[in-house]
């Protein structure tokens, strides 16, 4: 297993994390950052304004950084898995309707006035999560033919149900005008809640989903030969495909529950990894996870600093910046028939 791709991507990740902690709408001079670190090491009480800066670092920037890293990792990993499963360069984590299902769940939750309590505040992410998972189960059930689940059927059922869910969501949004702005903000994407709560809540699901995906690298490699070939090579195709699909969807559902629908990361990051580091899924999945985390964090840093104190929605930044970048990478690798 070559080490160099991992070194590069981890270096990128570390750089972006440093940027994310150093940059925000409140400018913290590097000298003050140094003094804060020294103060922490000496365990002394910091004077103002260092105290406020330190608070901003630990209670606002750090949890947000971690949440965005986890979301990006989830999207990168599940994007790579979807592309491997469907053997389709256009596949992204929202292919079979996860985004529409999550959006419908979230908007449904927003049309009810929940009590202001821990569980009340969890209503929107929980229903988004449920909506995403139920959509996947429904789409798999609809696409089933006998004992197999053909990919074409999956995509068609996913697109059809996705359109249906989107239409319902749009209708709900038109009706509940008070919550319209909140719904749009959620659908566009971006870190919503502050603090460590969201991080701790999604961590188990992401650990399970991403862990399962990393372990399925070999199976995905075998699947690239086609269903029949893979079956003949001894891989229980339907079972493995369904398991990988569920793991990827669980990961995506957890990612969108708190962060909304952020596009492009799941589509583009695996492609870039493939162009640079090859098609071996045992390597591609962990690399996509690491780079997905870094790429989304970079977009988030950009989103919150370019027009401070206003914040651009992250989904817009990923599209605006990601698309040209990907086109550039694609043109450079034009001569490689990598797919």
């Amino acid at each position: 297993m070559k080490i160099r791709p991992f070194l590069y991507t981890l270096l990128f990740l570390v750089l972006v994390v440093t940027l994310s902690i150093a940059i925000g709408s409140v400018f913290i001079p590097p000298a003050d950052l140094g003094r804060i670190l020294v103060g922490w090491m000496k365990q002394e009480v910091l004077p103002e304004p260092l105290k406020t800066f330190a608070f901003i670092l630990t209670d606002i920037r750090l949890p947000r950084t971690v949440l965005v890293l986890l979301t990006g990792a989830a999207l990168g990993g599940s994007g790579a898995a979807y592309q491997g499963l469907f053997r389709n360069p256009l596949a992204d984590p929202y292919l079979i309707g996860v985004a529409s299902g999550a959006g419908l769940g979230a908007v449904l939750a927003m049309s009810v006035r929940w009590p202001y309590s821990f569980w009340g505040l969890m209503a929107v992410p929980a229903m988004a999560f449920l909506g995403a998972l139920l959509t996947v189960f429904l789409v798999i059930a609809l696409a089933r033919v006998g004992r197999t689940v053909p990919t074409t059927n999956l995509i068609l059922a996913g697109v059809a149900f996705g359109s249906f869910a989107s239409a319902l969501t749009a209708w709900l949004m038109l009706r509940s005008t008070g919550e319209l702005h909140r719904a749009i903000a959620w659908l566009i994407g971006g870190a919503s809640q502050a603090g460590w709560g969201p991080v701790l809540t999604v961590l188990p699901y992401l650990a399970l989903g991403l862990g399962a995906l990393i372990l399925s690298g070999h199976s995905l490699n075998v699947l690239q030969f086609g269903d029949e070939q893979a079956q003949q090579m001894g891989l229980p195709v339907t079972r493995v495909r369904t398991l990988i699909l569920l793991a990827a969807s669980l990961t995506t559902a957890a990612a969108v529950a708190f962060s909304g629908i952020i596009g492009f990361i799941g589509l583009i990051v695996p492609h870039v990894m493939r162009l640079w580091f090859g098609v071996d899924y045992r390597r591609l999945l962990p690399l996509s996870i690491i780079t997905g985390a870094g790429a989304l964090l970079l977009a988030d840093v950009f989103a919150r600093s370019v027009m401070a104190p206003q914040e651009l929605p992250v989904g817009i930044v990923t599209a605006l910046v990601g698309a040209p970048f990907f086109l550039w990478v694609l043109r450079r690798a034009r001569n490689q028939g990598y797919w």
Binding site: G24, S25, V26, K51, T52, A54, F55, I56, D59, I60, R61, W114, P115, Y116, S117, F118, G120, L121, V124, L174, R175, T177, G178, E179, H181, R182, A185, G190, S192, Q193, A194, G195, G197, L200, T201, L203, P204, Y205, A207, L208, G211, A212, L215, R304, A308, P309, Q310, E311, L312, P313
Partner: protein, 320 residues
Amino acid sequence: MSGKIGFLLLITILLAACSPTGSATPAVGSMEPSASTAEGATPITLIDDLGRTVVLAAPAQRVVSLAPANTEILFAVGAGGQVVGRDETSDFPADALALPTIGGYSGFNLEAIVALHPDLVLAQGGGFNSPELVASLEELGLTVFSLPNPTSMEGMFTNLETVALLTGHEQEVETLLASLRTRVAAVDEKIMPLSYAPTVYYELDATEPSKPFTAGPGTFVDLLISRAGGLNIGSALEGQWAQISLEQLVVANPAMIILGDAAYGETSEKVSQRPGWEMLTAIQTGQVFPIDDNLVSRPGPRLVDGLEALARLLHPGVFK
């Protein structure tokens, strides 16, 4: 493979056990309000729109406003000097424009809010500022109060009193309320004997001229139009942003068209040029008027200005 999956499941269950399960305790944090408690001052305890009990040791001296209506209310009760931050859409009064902004349409900037060291963050309830935002601010150790969205003029007056209590202007607000109530009573008095209530179409949005949006029942616009002696044709429809088709509009044939979207460039000339609209009596008689939408949609003291503006449009003979 199954051994590894089993190991993963174990780790997952352990991690899941770490997830927060109880109600979030307010973070003590390092953010303490800078206001010192006066000797013998009683703490201010109020319940906000989200059912939260908010306690202030002393009237707030550093307030961040998260809604334009809140900014207007703060300045109106005399607490303008105590406001340290506003949202981008707060544009009244002119003094507010000098204040630093902390976000608005595309989300609020938590870092900027924290850096201002507020001892009170004033949010607007009823969906304007989301509960997630309030929770995030609470998590950071800030005191947040969510003002309920009023459904009547009295409700708006109550909000004025609440904000005055929070900022220590109880006496000033009494003067303000007295003058506002007098003005409202003056309008009511003149409207009462009138027998004619013109039908009004209040336009909220007409990007699609064949299916424009008007103020539905239960909105403040609807309330103010009735109180100003008019009949809102939108009150027969459903929803707050009620969509009306051109056909229904032609049948209703309002006596007057009030352009709430005048700020977005709609003028009476443009309206008369819309295909199919020339049938309407209001256009033929030139009864198409713009209005500053902020006067009738922001739940603040300027609603009284809005009431008077509507009354002047609807019954010009009685109101000069």
